[in-house]
Symmetry: C2
Subunit: 244 residues, 2 copies
Amino acid sequence: MKIDPNSSADLSAQIAAAIRDAIVSGQLIVDERLPSEAELSDQFSVSRPTVREALKRLAAQSLIRTQRGATGGAFVNRLNYPDAYAQHITTSTLLLSMNAVSFETACEARFAMERACAPLSAKRRTADHLATMRAEIHRQSQPGLTDEAFCASDVAFHRALVDGADNPVLSYQLAGAVEAMQPLMNMITFTARSRETILALHSRVADAIETQNATMADTALVELADYTLTLGRNVMQARLKLHT
Amino acid sequence: MKIDPNSSADLSAQIAAAIRDAIVSGQLIVDERLPSEAELSDQFSVSRPTVREALKRLAAQSLIRTQRGATGGAFVNRLNYPDAYAQHITTSTLLLSMNAVSFETACEARFAMERACAPLSAKRRTADHLATMRAEIHRQSQPGLTDEAFCASDVAFHRALVDGADNPVLSYQLAGAVEAMQPLMNMITFTARSRETILALHSRVADAIETQNATMADTALVELADYTLTLGRNVMQARLKLHT
DNA sequence: CAATTTTCATTTGTCAGACATTTAAAAGTC
DNA sequence: GACTTTTAAATGTCTGACAAATGAAAATTG
């Protein structure tokens, strides 16, 4: 692991990159202890604060964890699903909010991915997943529910649908995408009228998953996608009129 | 933005979290300048190195960028697609390599997502995307191609397929998933015989996309998924035998 | 001898202060 | 007015130090 002191990049960034490469390439394996900060500063010929900045960069990506004490140090972290989720969601949320991604684009991406796992979910869903879906549908039917709570329940419903596919990789990818869209979805204030329609479509999806009817699930999802898109367009148009 | 000095967590982690929340919630907008490191250390009542560690954490997630000089400082970064990609790929790659994700699971997730965007790609693909797909197919037909180069070309082919859907959000999500699988795919050393089959399937996919035949594209992708899965299982079985 | 307590060395976390480097704006010069 | 020089502000880096945590070894005790 070498760095170039004459490079324009920060030393801490270079050191972080060198260690990151060592982890990704497998030179450093899970739970292996990195040299102490003092040893690293010797190896790279930099000061300890610089090494520490590099280590914090890696910690921010959940690549390492640190422990104090005699046998402490920095250890290569086993990246787990919850940590990976959290990062995926943060990144996706910011990507959407900072790049003027249209509601159409995000919506299309979301439902395309959801449709992709519906057939698997129909095949493998457990009683637990079904129960969660039904419970969320029931929650969504409560009249006093705030818009925020409705959206959160919507996310939970779709999360259960995705998890039903029993593929953690798919869940990881999709849950992030769905959750990242929540701020965009919150923009669409669901009136009592539109909630009714969405609720009916959710029920159809749940029915299809329960009876393991992949085609019916797909049809319901397509209708839900179309309806959500229409809703979004109407809201946008209404806002546009307000400003003219 | 407040922190708790009595918390067990690192001060730099708390400060990073506070600033991250301010960014995600929109209190700090894109390109806005954060207070200088000296001002931040005053505000949070910590030393400058601690503040710097917090800022490096945020920089590692591409949430801020720093600039030296008189008008320099830390600025809220507009997260762009390339940066988001890079992070997504790093995270996904490590998640797969560190969690004993089976080839089956990863493969299923990948092709499920790819099938999701094939219909969109069939509808919207441009001449550019088609040309890229054809070029990669041609490259894959070269006899002298190394396994690594073949896999890289495979990734490029599928990347073009995904990009054809003309949905940057979908591209961002899927390209990361496909690329993260490359190490797993590399494990399967493609013999000349299997390359031939894959090549034929790639051609069918390209033909389908060119003629905008979504059904045909889906069929070819399903066959490709099945074939890849079979290949993977055979390789695994062969390895198992070697160890008994 | 076994169990417990104490000591101690190691390592990360934090701080203070200093200097180097970069950068743009302000001041000076022709 | 255009160019050069100075200057101030900010990040990047270094040195040295102390605090706090922690496990292992040493000392103590029954």
